[in-house]
């Protein structure tokens, strides 16, 4: 792609928005580099998710609104890889759980096979149903024993299988394992996307949308309820980190000295250091994915994808296997969301399933892609940064507006109370407004596809 003047300006504007958060202490700007870096880290993750969605929507025209589910699967991978193994949990119930799950999968596969094999008629439906019901009870009877055994092990602290970290008490020394979890999170999401794609991709666009929305809810429900897997709503805290801990840095005389040379106090310097490390790692991932996506877009494969998007019938007539290509790109895009999800759980150092809200993890990412410019990778990334900035900054802006508009009213006037309460909800309104305005006046986004 040739670098156009307009795009450079846009990127510079968005970059300056973040710099202003760090440098300016005025109005809505906190003037804290710490805040700016936190925002930047989440924006990087958001940009990666937007890249994944752009692959599906921008390249192939697939309407996936189950992003939240893939993100959560990535988060689950981070837990399963990097947390210490719970001693005795696997011997207590691991086999029961595995065999139970095996029975469940066997039932589904068996039912599908049987349904295809039996001759048509009412008998077929009845036999298949009977197999499913029997299989379900067999699955529950084995599975529940294992689940109870695992959840009984020190439920206050563990009560779950734990991860693959062999470090035991000192599991936090193996912080690099979380980085291993990122591609694994991508693979988890890809696996789920394969199953979903196999079943739902033949459907019409808005059926696919609703199916993905529902499956995302199911994934969240599973993560919330299967305590043996990731402690459910009890959350998994204290994931190991790939970057040094602030407290270790503060106790390191060498670090304190170099911080002093920069004119920073140790506490501030240590948080800045860890956040910058995260930012650098995330940037590396983003750049790699961006290069790959950009190469894919301009390759023959990318041209074929766009041809399928623009006219499925014509592409099929040219001998392209539309459903298989859709499945391919659906898996790729979802995998990117999974990677981003694992990265986010790493950044948070915890997995809390209740924090997965569709407005925040699905629809917001869509706003990023649409505003940035669907079909343009750079656009999606730009949209990610811009919309995340807006998402965060709208709240202080709402408070500011509330202050100005209510300045003339008494402390206990209903309008004042209402406005102060409402400032927090300004976010959703603004996001909707931005989305509608862009769709209406610049439907191709800020950086349109060429």
């Amino acid at each position: 792609m040739t670098i156009s003047f307009r795009n450079v300006i846009l990127a510079a504007v968005v970059a300056s928005l973040y710099i202003m958060v760090g440098a300016l202490d005025w109005g809505i700007f906190p003037g804290s580099w710490n805040t700016a870096l936190t925002m930047l880290n989440f924006a990087l993750i958001g940009a990666i998710m937007a890249l994944g969605v752009n692959l599906q929507w921008g390249f192939a025209g697939l309407f996936n609104i189950g992003i939240m589910g893939f993100v959560a699967l990535g988060g689950l991978a981070a837990v399963l890889i990097s947390m210490p193994t719970t001693p005795g949990a696997f011997t207590a119930g691991g086999w029961y759980v595995l065999i139970g799950l095996g029975l469940g999968v066997a039932t589904i596969v068996g039912a599908v096979k049987l349904y295809g094999w039996l001759p048509m008629g009412r008998l077929r439906t009845l036999i298949t149903l009977a197999l499913i019901v029997l299989g379900f009870f067999a699955f529950r009877s084995v599975f529940d024993i294992g689940v109870d055994a695992i959840e009984d092990i020190n439920p206050a602290a563990t009560g779950y299988l734990g991860g693959l970290n062999w470090g035991g008490e000192n599991y936090k020394d193996n912080g690099w394992l979380t980085i291993v979890a990122w591609p694994v999170g991508g693979m988890f999401a890809a696996g789920a996307a394969w199953v979903i794609g196999k079943t739902a991709l033949g459907l019409r666009s808005d059926y696919l949308a609703i199916a993905t929305l529902g499956i995302a809810e199911i994934i969240i429900a599973i993560i919330k309820n299967e305590d043996w897997l990731s402690r459910g709503v009890k959350n998994v805290n204290g994931l190991p980190r790939p970057v040094p801990y602030e407290i270790d840095l503060q106790n390191d005389p060498g670090f304190v000295e170099s911080a002093a040379a920069w004119g920073l106090d140790p506490v501030n310097a240590s948080t800045l250091f860890t956040k910058t490390s995260y930012a650098l790692m995330f940037t590396v991932v983003l750049v790699i994915l961006l290069i790959l996506a950009q190469r894919a877009l301009s390759s023959p494969w990318g041209r074929m994808m766009r041809a399928i998007r623009d006219n499925e019938v014509a592409a099929e007539a040219m001998g392209k296997h539309v459903t298989a290509r859709h499945l391919q790109i659906f898996i790729l895009g979802s995998a990117i969301c999974g990677i981003a999800g694992a990265m986010m759980t790493t950044l948070d150092s915890q997995l809390s399933p209740t924090s997965y809200q569709p407005l925040r993890f699905t629809f917001l990412i869509w706003v990023m892609v649409i505003v940035g410019g669907s079909g343009n990778n750079f656009g999606a990334v730009l949209g990610g940064f811009l919309i995340w900035w807006l998402w965060i900054m709208v709240e202080p802006l709402g408070v500011l507006i509330a202050e100005y508009t209510t300045a003339g009213f008494a402390e206990d006037h209903w309008f004042r109370i209402r406005m102060e309460d409402a400032a927090a909800h300004f976010r959703l309104f603004t996001m909707g407004l931005v989305l509608l305005l862009v769709l209406r006046f610049s439907p191709r986004g800020l950086m349109p596809e060429k």
Binding site: S205, I210, A211, I222, A422, F429, G432, L433, L435, L436
Partner: protein, 336 residues
């Protein structure tokens, strides 16, 4: 006797709540299905339209209560409902004029309209939270029960009680009235017939001189009435919370699709299918089985097929199964 007890327990915990929930879903799904039939897109803002209507009704209810007006044994919210419907009508007509009309004129692809409705969803969500906040609000007043469990036990001498809440009774009665009026309207009146014609074949309808803008306007008004009624009934039965209404979108869509998108009869059937499967599959059958089985076979666990938190999973599993085996839904819906 044990058999009767089992039936009563089953009715109390599954049939009655299922009926009420099914009626609420059916009303919601009717709105979604009408939009789909006439305007040809899946309206993601429907849950938030319901929330808006309910929020308005709650405000008016509070106003009425402050004036000392109540509806006797019935909830005051029923008196406030017409005002809520009018407010919601104005909201959706305004939205249509400001937002959807532009894309309709452009003949934009349905998926674009879906994305647009996502934007509207965000805005409405924000507006509702702005108006009424995010707290859980209970606004049911009047008598709590039509039949309370204790009265039922005294009356029949059974060990199990059957309780029917007033809100559950009202839900079913109101739903029946609304559905009857709607079907009368769609089948007997000129406007209703032109709506059905428009939904069946847009070009043919235009050729026969049907004014599309008028059809669209009437559709939005009906949808506003349905959404507000569904929302108020759900809120009376359970409670009002902005976020819950957004989540209701999922079972409502499932109902509409399971029944066949664009088919009003299907929406009603779908609502009850989804509601009953959710309630049945997440109900702990221990109590019922204790009465039915001989003592030595009594279950030790709760005999709950899935935990209650999986109720969304249930509706979606049904949705996926129906989509795979009968893509147009149980009743023949449209497939564009």
């Amino acid at each position: 006797m044990d058999f009767l007890n089992a039936i009563v327990a089953f009715s109390n915990f599954v049939v009655v709540p299922g009926m009420a929930y099914g009626a609420q879903l059916a009303l919601g799904a009717l709105g979604v299905t009408l939009i789909y039939g006439i305007l040809r897109f899946s309206n993601f803002a429907h849950g938030d339209t319901m929330a808006f209507g309910t929020a308005m009704t709650i405000l008016v209810t509070n106003g009425l209560l402050a004036l000392g007006i109540t509806f006797g044994p019935l909830p005051t919210a029923l008196l406030a409902l017409p005002v809520g419907i009018i407010a919601t009508c104005l909201l959706v007509l305004g939205t249509d004029k400001l937002v959807y009309k532009f894309y309709r004129k452009q003949k934009a692809a349905p998926v674009i309209l879906v994305i647009v409705s996502m934007g509207v969803m965000f805005i409405m969500n924000g507006v509702v939270r702005f108006i009424i906040g995010v707290r859980d609000i209970r606004f049911a007043d009047g008598e709590r029960f039509i039949v309370s469990a204790r009265d039922f036990k005294a009356m029949t001498g059974l060990k199990e009680g059957l309780a029917i809440k007033t809100t559950q009774g009202i839900t079913v009665v109101v739903a029946v009235i609304v559905v009857a009026v709607l079907f009368w309207f769609l089948n007997k009146t000129r406007t209703g017939k032109s709506m059905r014609a428009f939904s069946d074949n847009e070009d043919l309808a235009l050729l026969s001189g049907i004014n599309p803008e008028r059809v669209v306007m009437v559709t939005w008004m009906i949808v506003a009435a349905l959404a507000t009624t569904a929302g108020v009934l759900y809120g009376l039965d359970k409670s009002f919370k902005a976020f819950t209404y957004f989540q209701l979108l999922l079972p409502i869509f499932a109902s509409a699709i399971v029944g066949g998108l664009g088919n009003p009869l299907g929406a009603i059937a779908g609502g009850f299918v989804i509601a009953f499967s959710e309630v049945t599959i997440t109900y702990a059958f221990k109590k019922v089985l204790i009465y039915l089985l001989p003592e030595n076979l009594e279950p030790s666990g709760l005999v709950q097929l899935l935990s209650t938190d999986y109720k969304f999973a249930v509706s979606f599993t049904i949705l996926i199964i129906v989509l795979l085996f009968k893509p147009t839904g149980l009743f023949k819906g449209q497939s564009v």
